[in-house]
């Protein structure tokens, strides 16, 4: 069951909201509606579901409605129409008291400019969410400390926000959000104000934390690289509408329309595609059953110059070349063991394309993809190049 279910959610800023909604339904664009009614469409009938434990990235250009959408999720902005169902409760229609409860216990938010309270110490900042629930000093201190330790700030609790670097401040923001152990984390461009190196570090750290915590995270960004790095699912927004939802690979490989395509055009595919996406089913021989003769036969049949050798359990043993196999055949060697080569560099299914590209350059044979010693597939050099060029077959099912 999804943790968050958004259904037909719209937000119109300005006076003629109802009229604007009608025009939206009649298929008018955001611009036309602005001209006609003076109202701005923030979010246009968005519908999507977010599963528990998922990092759901919402991406779009500036002004596309990302911030508005995420604020509709915890109702910092009241929706004009539609529903936000969290754990079976509709936030759009619930009363104030319930809304406070949901905000206190189920959803926390991390802000672009950190939004730390400057007059409160780091510890007091992290305690804020618990403090307003009326939790006793001792208990909330302990929880806040634990959460600060989790983000690596255990030694800074007495400091004030202004004394910390940007990256550290956002860790405090994260710790503050995690302190009341919410199910859902809303992050609006949480890393956009950080410089690139720190930003990457924070992305990794978020992924590490997520391994342990398994929160449901809604992450807003305008940066496709970031979206691809951390997203389990990505939703693309344009002019307030969600134009595509899918896994990173789906978005990248099958852009729903020109807009998405343009967005992904300049993404460096080599940073996104992994070995798993481009590997092929390997031809193999079994070292326990087969000798040089079978190996040579298979190679000739497939038109290849080398073949991988495994045991009965598909554990990779090495490879033999066609030349060696025919030499062995002539000198009556019957075991593959004698001509087995083991110098092929291996990769795992998660190795990124740019790394594979390097390796494939120097390797005389297709690269074996190995997991726990077992041969999963092979990558031929041509596949690497065509995938980098944005062509060729790509395996889109999730690993």
């Amino acid at each position: 069951m999804p943790v968050i279910k958004v259904d037909g959610l719209s937000k119109v800023f300005g006076k003629n909201a109802k009229q604007a909604l009608k025009l939206l339904e009649a298929g008018k664009t955001k611009e036309e509606i602005l001209k006609q009614t003076g109202s701005t469409v923030g979010v246009n009938r968005a519908s999507f579901e977010v599963e528990a434990g998922e990092i759901f990235v919402i991406m779009g250009l500036s002004g596309s409605g990302k911030s508005t959408l995420v604020r509709l999720l915890n109702r910092l902005i009241d929706p004009t129409e539609g529903h936000v169902i969290v754990d079976g409760e509709d936030l759009a229609t619930m009363n104030k008291k319930d809304l406070l409860r949901v905000r206190r216990t189920k959803m926390s938010m991390v802000f672009q400019k950190f939004a730390l309270f400057p007059f409160r110490s780091i510890l007091e900042n992290a305690e804020y969410g618990l403090e307003i629930q009326g939790m006793a000093k001792e208990e909330r201190s302990q929880k806040a400390r634990k959460s600060l330790e989790m983000v690596g700030l255990g030694n800074y609790i007495e400091q004030y926000p202004a004394q910390l670097s940007g990256g550290m401040q956002q860790r405090v923001g994260l710790a503050r959000a995690l302190a009341n152990d919410p199910e859902v984390l809303l992050m609006d461009e949480a890393f956009s104000a950080l410089d690139p190196l720190i930003r990457k570090e924070m992305q990794d750290e978020l992924l590490d934390l997520q391994e342990k915590m398994k929160k449901t995270i809604i992450f807003i960004t305008h940066d496709l690289d970031e979206a691809l790095r951390i997203g389990d699912k990505i939703a693309l927004m344009k002019d307030g509408s969600i134009v595509q939802v899918g896994s990173p690979e789906e978005i990248l490989m099958n852009p729903a329309n020109d807009y998405v395509e343009k967005f992904v055009e300049d993404v460096d595919r080599s940073k996104v595609l992994t070995a798993y996406n481009i590997m092929k089913r390997p031809e193999t021989v079994n070292i326990e059953k087969h000798g040089p003769r079978v190996a040579l036969e298979r190679m000739q049949k497939e038109g290849i110059s080398s073949i991988y050798v495994t045991d009965g359990k598909r554990n990779l043993k090495g490879y033999v070349t066609a030349d060696d196999a025919s030499t062995a055949l002539r000198s009556d060697v019957t075991s593959l063991m004698a001509i087995l080569k083991t110098d092929a560099p291996t990769v795992t299914k998660d190795t990124l394309m740019n790394a594979i590209f390097e390796i494939s350059h120097n390797s005389p044979v297709p690269i074996p993809v190995v997991e726990d010693g077992k041969l999963l597939g092979i990558i031929v050099r041509g596949a690497v190049i065509s995938a980098l060029a944005g062509q060729g077959e790509v395996n889109l099912t999730h690993a």
């Binding site: 406070l100 905000r103 309270f117 007059f119 969410g129 009341n180």
Partner: protein, 286 residues
């Protein structure tokens, strides 16, 4: 044609105001009289009490506070000691204490009334739209004018002085409180909301602490205006340094007038520096 004004009768604006004031004075006598009597008595005993403390002790206390408020520097403390000794030497100590107690009480009341009004304004656009022109009016009307209804309501003495001072000196506190709260960055307000703060929690845990520096600047202005009003209020019988200036004026006695005026300046500088350093001090870790 150009003299069309001659054909229009003068609007009885002044008599309307007089009637209105008279009506308020009569109808609310049940309220004003006890204020005049009880509050007036309280004020007087407070002022007497202050005046009864030996000057040496007062000067010492002021010097110590000044020393710590100014970050352990001697400048303000030294100035306070010299200034207060001079006033004492000139035989104006009691007047100084009277003026000070008037300023203190008037300012406290202004703050107690002004801050909540400022908060209200910051929370409601409607309230802001109504209150802002009223504040403008209160501040641009010459201060003397407030003395007239003050006398009508509370006759003469300390109480009408404080009343006039309230009207004249409260606006900066209201304005700055409103401004300070509205200036709190939107993200911080959102953060407070996103964690499920109630309106009161947001106000006391986020908005007021964030606005503190600005509010203190407003209070500083209020105190200075209260001081100037307390001097003017000597015209309706408020005791203190102002009265000395006034009587010197009536006798065309330049020397005495100057000395009393100097006393006011000394009091003003000390009060100003004190309230300012409060606002700066609280602001340091922000």
């Amino acid at each position: 044609m150009l003299n069309f004004m001659e054909n229009i009768e003068k609007l009885p604006l002044s008599s309307w105001v007089s009637d209105f004031t008279g009506w308020i004075s009569d109808s609310f006598a049940f309220l004003f009289d006890p204020i005049k009597n009880e509050f007036g008595d309280g004020l007087e005993s407070f002022a007497d009490m202050l005046a009864a403390v030996p000057p040496v002790i007062v000067i010492l206390i002021v010097a110590v506070i000044a020393f710590f408020l100014s970050g352990k520097r001697f400048g303000l403390a030294a100035f306070s000691v010299v200034g207060l000794l001079l006033v004492w030497n000139q035989g104006l100590w009691e007047e100084l204490m009277l003026s000070f107690s008037l300023v203190l009480v008037a300012s406290l009341l202004s703050v107690i009334i002004g801050v909540p009004i400022g908060i209200l304004m910051s929370k409601s656009k409607v309230a802001e739209n109504i209150i802002t022109p009223v504040l403008d009016f209160m501040q641009t009307m010459p201060a003397f004018v407030y003395l007239i209804p003050a006398v009508a309501f509370f006759s003469i003495g300390m109480v009408p002085g404080i009343f006039a001072s309230l009207i004249f000196a409260t606006p900066p506190t209201v304005r700055f409180t409103n401004l300070g709260i509205r200036q709190v960055s939107e993200e911080l307000v959102e953060a407070a909301d996103a964690f499920g703060s109630t309106g009161a929690q947001k106000l006391f845990k986020v908005e007021l602490p964030m606005a503190k520096t600005t509010i203190m600047a407003g209070i500083n202005q209020t105190v200075m205006l209260a001081l100037s009003m307390v001097v003017i209020a000597s015209m309706i019988g408020a005791p203190g340094l102002g009265r000395e200036v006034l009587s010197a004026l009536q006798r065309a006695d330049v020397g005495t007038g100057f000395v009393a005026g100097l006393g006011i300046v000394i009091l003003a500088i000390i009060i100003d520096r004190f309230t300012q350093s409060f606002s700066l001090k609280k602001g340091t870790n922000i």
